[in-house]
Symmetry: C2
Subunit: 124 residues, 2 copies
DNA sequence: TCAAGTTACGGCGTTCGTAACTATT
DNA sequence: AATAGTTACGAACGCCGTAACTTGA
């Protein structure tokens, strides 16, 4: 669904920069979509792409699809984030300074309600 | 998006038959989705799959995505089908009885408003 | 001549199907 | 034993990136 982004940025190159996808990939994706639908979505020009009349309608419809997908993800996220647990972690000092901070950041992002108890252990 | 179909048919096997996709492919797709989202969508049992609570919500959200996609396609179709042309075709008798009917059926499906003028030609 | 888009092509990842395995009744 | 789901694995398809080409100001 590059078409919504192209509509916003005005060109394939800008979209390429913004989404970190190469111009040829985007160009081909658009062409393929147009051929599949039998509809020209954009007018190509020297400095960018401009939606056709039907293109504008399709871009709106595409944006609605993306919104629904976002809703879907949020729905799932709101559930998995309902996990409320207390996770106790013991680790030697070196680990406390290195991987533990990264790990806990990831966990906090996925399960906002989690409680982390980190305890420094003494190697035997 | 196999999850909506599974919700309707009640099992992977039925979905497999209905969508002409193998059971393992569907099974793996569901597992992957569940892992990606960090959410269990179905309870597995001897005779089929039943949605969990969050699964039901996700299935509804997924169905809305599919509906939006259908809208998108319809939008495109309604445009390409606005082509009103008269297409004249001449062909020798043998062709008139063979490929022409198939071809015109395809054209009529894609461009409902098209007019076909088929004329039998006489080989020189 | 420069900037944007397109075409060509090779590589990689995803997804699929077949086959074999597990589990539940 | 039979049926539904899962795991393993090899193959096919699609999508992407690099490079080269085309086009319009």
């Amino acid at each position: 669904m590059f078409i919504t982004e192209i509509a916003k940025t005005g060109s394939i190159v800008n979209t390429s920069d913004r989404l970190f996808v190469s111009s040829p990939a985007i160009s081909l994706a658009i062409s393929s979509l147009e051929e599949e639908l039998g509809v020209k979505i954009f007018e190509r020009s020297r400095n960018g792409l401009e939606p056709t009349e039907i293109g504008k309608k399709l871009i709106i419809a595409a944006q609605e699809i993306l919104n629904q997908i976002e809703k879907f993800k949020q729905e799932a996220k709101s559930d998995s984030s309902e996990i409320e647990e207390t996770l106790s972690i013991s680790a030697v000092q070196s680990l406390c300074r290195s991987i533990i901070p990264k790990t806990s950041a990831v966990l906090k992002a996925k399960f906002p309600k989690i409680t982390l108890q980190i305890k420094e252990a003494h190697p035997s």
